[in-house]
Amino acid sequence: MLVRARGLTKRFEDFTAVAGIDFDLYRGEAFGFLGPNGAGKSSTMRMIGCVSPPTSGELAILGLDPVRDGSAIRARLGVVPQEDTLDVELTVRENLLVYGRYFGLPRKVIRERTAALLDFVQLADRAADKVDPLSGGLKRRLTIARSLINEPEILILDEPTTGLDPQARHVVWDRLFRLKQRGVTLILTTHYMDEAEQLCDRLVVMDHGRFAAEGSPRDLIARYCSPEVLELRFDPELHEQAGDKLKDFPAERAELLADRILLYVTDGDEALAAVRETGLEPLTSLVRRGTLEDVFLHLTGRRLED
């Protein structure tokens, strides 16, 4: 077991960001943290990264205590923080060289790894450029390359692909998948359900500092979602009103989003016909299968019955 947490808690003054969570992470798996803004994902990542002492509870990383042995643990971690912390006074290549030195690696080893890593994230042609003018996506890729300079056993990625274009995201997914194949353990947070579905073996949905659910993406969909989902979009004027009306609709569950109403049902077409019979006429409608996003909305969103 690589990481073990029991009753892990983080408080800032009297605000509780992480409210006693339990989890175990095993070697070689990819573990995801989903959750709305402020759920406590980054706070958890920082505790695992040994840059934030837990307020209470137990936490063991690689069998060590993060407060006492933080330095030794960090030597074996790779970290991609939510906000880039690249060294803007240095070039792309120098960022990797200098970062490797922070780990006390010999220069020769760092030089070899730097060349390989720049290829790995497709930045070799920008090696001599300053970091500052790079686009957000390129900076993100450099941050990922930097986190790998010490060949970490555990890679902690806090929203690794936020702000990337679709191509760049696929590049990052591919790279992360390859790392996983090589046996690197991934811990990641994300707001993208497709990313979680693609990369994570197991995931937790976090809300208000607690776990609302945990399991594999497939489990979660089976457990928290109906076979089909009917998406309805009404005239904005009628949106609230339609929501009220559909409250008592015989669906498994209904979800009122800012722009759409989702009905969780067994048969989408049947449900659409039934909606029309109540006299409501949606501007657009769509019947689709349940996804992880529905699970997320169910667990953390606003429900009609609220």
Binding site: F12, P53, R74, D87, E89, V98, Y102, G104
Partner: protein, 283 residues
């Protein structure tokens, strides 16, 4: 120098390495962490070598204008032990002391604040095995290396201008580094309490009077006695006298006290800085 100094430090910060002999050994092994930061700065300044070089010229310009220019009008003033010395010989060591203070303060306040709050440099580094106390030590070590280079350059110019008459002047370089140590450590400790750039007015508020009144430009004897006592308590005055006694070849036992005073200030600043960085960054 930096790893020796770090072994003297009690553990700081909340992220402590393991206690006991094994822990101490491991600490000693990774104390190179502060050297890594110095390496990083050396690399970063390769892209800004002009900024680096300008530090050599600033005190030299002062020396030319005040020492050689103003010195022609002033003639002789009482130096160490009341002995009359030409003004340019009097003012030169004072300028070395002042520029050591200014250089150290600049590095440890503006630059450190920028790295702390804007560049997020320390956040990046603390994700690696490096610890907060090593960060503090590395920053101060860097300020000292820079200060030493400038002090050597300045001392050589004094020599070339015939302002040095004693072999004791060799010790002016470590003396200047000691002044740099005291001000860099205290300045950096203060910086960890700063919230915004406005707070830097306090740095100017503190260093400006020191710069002007620490017997840098004229002897302490011009002041009334009560004022003299206050000035004698300031670190820059002690530094000025330290360097002046050395360069003009009149060292006494007081020199050791002055050096001890500056070293104590520096160590205190270093300790506070290590603790504060841990508290600010490891939240």
């Amino acid at each position: 120098m930096s790893s020796a100094a770090s072994r003297m430090l009690p553990p700081t910060g909340r992220m402590l390495p393991p206690a006991g002999r094994l822990g101490r050994l491991r600490r000693a092994g990774t104390d190179a962490g502060s050297l890594r930061l110095i390496e990083r700065h050396a690399r970063a300044y390769r892209h800004a070598w002009l900024v680096f070089a300008s530090g050599v010229f600033e005190p030299l310009l002062y020396l030319l204008s005040l020492g050689l220019g103003l010195g022609v009008l002033i003639g002789k003033v009482p130096g160490p032990g009341g002995r009359l010395v030409p003004y340019r010989e009097f003012v030169a060591p004072g300028l070395l002391a002042v520029s050591s203070m200014n250089g150290a303060m600049y590095d440890s306040t503006f630059n450190v604040f920028f790295r702390l709050k804007y560049a997020k440099l320390y956040d990046a580094i603390l994700a690696t095995p490096i610890r907060p106390a090593q960060l503090a030590l590395g920053e101060i070590g860097w300020a000292l290396i820079r200060g030493a280079i400038y002090a050597v350059a300045f001392t050589l110019v004094m020599l070339a201008l015939g302002l040095v008459h004693s072999p004791w002047a060799v010790l002016a370089v470590p003396g200047a580094v000691l002044i740099g140590f005291a001000f860099a450590a205290v300045g950096m400790a203060g910086t960890t309490y700063m919230k915004s750039w406005q707070d830097f007015d306090y740095v100017i508020l503190a260093s400006m009077p020191l710069f002007l009144f620490s017997a840098t430009f004229y002897p302490l004897s011009v002041y009334p006695r009560p004022l003299q006592v206050i000035i004698e308590c300031t670190p820059l005055y002690q530094g000025v006298v330290l360097l002046r006694d050395l360069v003009l070849g009149a060292p006494g036992p007081g020199l050791l006290w002055r050096a001890a005073y500056l070293a104590a200030l520096g160590l205190a600043g270093l300790l506070v800085t290590g603790r504060r960085l841990a508290r600010l960054l490891l939240v």
